[in-house]
Amino acid sequence: MLKEIIEHHILDHVYAYIGLGAFSLPLSKHLLMMLIVAVGLALVLPWVFRSRLPGMGLARTAVETLVLFIRDGMVIPSMGEEGRKYTPYFCTLFFFILCSNLLGLVPYGATATGNISVTAALALSTFLLINISGVAAHGVGGYLKSFVPHGVPVWLTPFLFVIEIIGLIAKTFALCVRLFANMIGGHIVLLSLIAMIFIFSEINVYAGVFGAIPVAIPMALFISMLEVFVAALQAYIFTFLTAIFTGAALHPH
């Protein structure tokens, strides 16, 4: 029963499947959430930047500040000056993850980043960015050579090469799981707290109403506020780690 409730709230709801050649693609709630985020960002950000309405100055300043923070706080420190041209990628990544995270806190919303398929796709994008930027900076041979540090004995080279590649995959996997687990964890805690009210009510109605509610609701409120913080923090961490890994591919030593 409890398992079903939790699954109902944190799993994706597939409304329908559409066949596309050999694949059948799901039309789901998380897809809807991603579309809302993407369309919202694509409409709101250019509008905020272009609009000359008196009230929009503040929003524009906020967006500019975030862009500056991403560029000067993450991209350039970890990737150097040649990282500048990757700034749009990191801005998109940060805003997409942040808005997806926050949308899960809105009533009737769902957290697309609490879906491991979504975080896996984002982590794979990072994986692609790391390798593409490495190859773009050093060429295929140079990039592959950069996996093994200078001055390593020849017999160690194959082992190190394999270890470095495993490391790269592990980083990507960790990115994927970190974001997913952080977004899903808060929801599970929230659901458990709310569920406590009903569990106690099953045992005794008074225990549920007068015992569990006064404890569970403030704690749920606290966890919700923590979730707002975690939403921003995880967006920051995902973006920052992507910048660090890409920087490591650009400057191997």
Partner: protein, 165 residues
């Protein structure tokens, strides 16, 4: 719960698609213009700061130059003043010496004049006294006295008188 931790192709595909499109759209319509504007603003701020710094450096250089010039000027003025004081002192001394010399000359000339006048007066007086004495002696004797002899006598007498007097 297996479903929770099993990635599934369809949603990954949608995520790639949406994220990729968002990347293109935002890169073209949001981040591009925003970053361009930020960089332009940074360039403008940097240009302003550079201009202000160079203006400040210019002003400081000018001030230093003026300081040096002013100090030099003060030294020049001091030196000229000292030279003028020295010249004035020398001229004063020269003028004083000249004046003293002139006054001494004038005094000595006056003294010579007085001496000369006195001697001439004394000679005239002697002549007169001699004439008067001779005339008186002629009157007394009633005859002509040999002028030359008489004069010799008078003059000798006068000399005796002068010696006594």
């Amino acid at each position: 719960m297996d479903k929770l931790i099993t990635p599934e192709f369809g949603t990954m595909f949608w995520t790639f698609l949406i994220f990729g499109l968002l990347l293109l759209v935002l890169g073209r319509f949001a981040w591009g213009p925003i970053i361009r504007m930020l960089e332009e603003r940074e360039r403008a701020v940097k240009a302003d700061r550079d201009a202000a710094e160079s203006a400040k450096a210019d002003a400081e250089k000018m001030r230093d130059e003026l300081d040096v010039k002013l100090r030099q000027l003060a030294e020049d003025v001091k030196a000229e003043l000292a030279a003028a004081v020295r010249t004035g002192e020398r001229e004063r001394q020269e003028l004083l010496a000249q004046a003293r010399e002139q006054s001494e000359q004038m005094v000595s000339a006056a003294r010579q004049d007085i001496e000369r006048d006195r001697e001439r007066l004394a000679a005239d007086l002697r002549q007169y006294v001699a004439d008067v004495s001779l005339a008186a002696a002629e009157k007394v004797l009633g005859e002509r006295v040999d002028e030359n002899a008489g004069r010799r006598i008078v003059e000798a007498t006068l000399k005796d008188l002068e010696k006594k007097g």
